[in-house]
């Protein structure tokens, strides 16, 4: 049994610290938004988790391509790690968004392009795990997983543009203005600091969890091989 590498242990501690700082910044340091009030503070973590989740899904699609070319199982473990962490982060994004939407839009959920795409994306990657569960051979599981993650990764952005045929009410805070958007606002410098620190925080946490999950995958693989050896 190998012990955890030191760098990973340090990263674990760093993630907890930055999460603490980020929570303080979001809840206390950042000024209160005038129109929406305190509920706007959800925004920092909402974007933080959304950004890292999307990063993970994009990485997973890239790992698919690399796996299908190299057929090295290492890439498959990276892909599973990325998708698993992203799936949870995206669920947090949706939950936080709902908490914000209730007072801002007066509804928990609307069939807006971003919300619908988020729901569909979650379903695609849940299906991804169901597909993997139905296959016993590791090599076949990796191949099918890679194909499905690739198909899903291409389909999700198309879904987004397809639903954009309808009008959107989701605010675009960072760039551009949308007259129909409800709940958009301009950020003060303190808000920007909090915002970028939240992005940084969740990127660190993502890397930490990703790394831990890859290590777990490697250990799982080792256990599977040892079991095979014993059974023979």
């Amino acid at each position: 049994m190998q012990s955890k590498p030191l760098a990973l242990k340090i990263l674990d501690v760093v993630s907890i610290i930055v999460l603490g700082i980020s929570t303080y910044l979001a809840l206390v340091f950042a000024p209160k938004e005038l129109v929406m009030g305190d509920v706007q503070r959800v925004f920092y973590f909402h974007i933080g988790t959304a950004w890292t989740a999307l990063l993970g899904f994009i990485l997973a699609a890239l790992f698919s391509v690399v796996y299908l070319i190299t057929k090295n199982l290492r890439w498959d473990r990276l892909q599973v790690a990325a998708i698993e962490v992203s799936l949870v982060f995206f669920l947090i994004t949706i939950a936080l968004g709902s908490i914000w939407a209730r007072p801002a839009w007066n509804t928990w959920w609307t069939w807006d392009p971003r919300l619908t795409t988020a729901a569909v994306t979650e379903l695609i990657y849940i299906a991804y795990f169901m597909l993997r569960q139905g296959i016993d051979e590791p090599e076949k599981r990796a191949r099918f997983g890679a194909v499905y993650a690739l198909v899903g990764g291409i389909s999700a952005p198309i879904t987004f543009f397809a639903i954009r045929l309808f009008r959107t009410i989701h605010p675009v805070v960072i760039s551009g203005s949308n007259a129909a958007a409800q709940g958009s606002f301009n950020m003060t410098p303190d808000m920007l600091t909090t915002f970028f620190f939240a992005l940084f925080t969740f990127t660190v946490i993502f890397i930490d969890l990703f790394w831990n999950r890859i290590r777990l995958g490697d250990l799982q693989d080792k256990v599977e091989q040892l079991k095979l050896k014993v059974s023979i």
């Binding site: 299908l68 569909v120 379903l123 695609i124 299906a127 169901m130 597909l131 569960q133 139905g134 296959i135 016993d136 076949k140 191949r143 099918f144 890679a146 194909v147 499905y148 690739l150 198909v151 899903g152 291409i154 389909s155 198309i158 879904t159 543009f161 397809a162 639903i163 045929l165």
Partner: protein, 242 residues
């Protein structure tokens, strides 16, 4: 050494076969499916009866009176095609797997993508035949004229996209332990753009909207068809590889 060289040479010759033999291989797979289906008729009849049942269920579920009919016809049609489609896709791949036909097909000295295109075209053919029968039945039952060239084009484009992804995913799902339930779960979230654009375009044609408005979803359908046929063409090898 000499043997190996000639072997290599023959392999390269095989790889650079003219396009004619590729098309021949595709037609052979399609022909095989059509003939098998013509004898048993199990796939076609199941899909057709299932579609009619779904329309019946929608009739009770949505209370399709004249007013609501106008707005939901496109949605009902595409939901019907999507559900009936999974039935056909699953069965068409399960037959290959159960009787060991897939192994036989894979042994044939043809490009594997020819097998994909063959299965895809035969699946598309069965789906279109079912749709061609469902349309007049729906028209008669609800007195809506569904025989408009625009709508038929949308149905063709939508079915191509649906079957292009469906054939690829069905080839995967039949090789898993949970194969009876897995295909719709894999397929539906991925074909949502097709269903969305197809419903948009169909209801546009049915309500007599302007062409410029309908062109956008139709372009989306074409783009989806092209992208996913290309993707499936590239990855089908890794799905059937043993």
């Amino acid at each position: 050494m000499v043997n190996k060289a000639t072997e290599l040479k023959s392999m390269t010759i095989e790889r650079t076969r003219p396009a004619g033999s590729f098309i021949k291989a595709v037609t052979a797979v399609v022909w095989k499916d059509v003939r098998a289906e013509f004898r048993s008729r199990e796939l076609f009849s199941a899909m057709l009866v299932f579609s009619l049942l779904i329309i019946l269920i929608f009739n009770f579920a949505l209370e399709l009176d004249i007013k609501t009919r106008q707005s939901v016809t496109a949605g009902v049609l595409w939901a019907t095609f999507a559900f009936a489609g999974t039935l056909g896709l699953n069965r068409s791949m399960a037959i290959e797997k159960d009787r060991g036909c897939l192994d036989g097909l894979l042994l044939a000295p043809v490009d594997r993508s020819a097998i994909y295109f063959g299965k895809m075209i035969s699946n598309l053919a069965f789906m279109l035949i079912v749709e061609i029968i469902v349309l007049p039945v729906y028209s008669v039952l609800y007195s809506v004229n569904l025989f408009q060239p625009g709508l038929l084009l949308v149905i063709l484009l939508g079915s191509i996209g649906y079957v292009a992804v469906g054939t690829l995913l069905a080839a995967m799902s039949v090789q898993t332990r949970t194969r009876d339930i897995l295909l719709p779960i894999l397929l539906f979230p991925v074909v949502i753009p097709v269903l969305l654009a197809a419903v948009k375009a169909s209801s546009g044609f049915l309500s007599g909207a302007e062409l410029a408005e309908i062109l956008l979803p139709i372009n989306l359908l074409i783009a989806y068809d092209v992208i996913f046929i290309a993707v499936a063409f590239m990855v089908f090898d890794s799905v059937v590889e043993e």
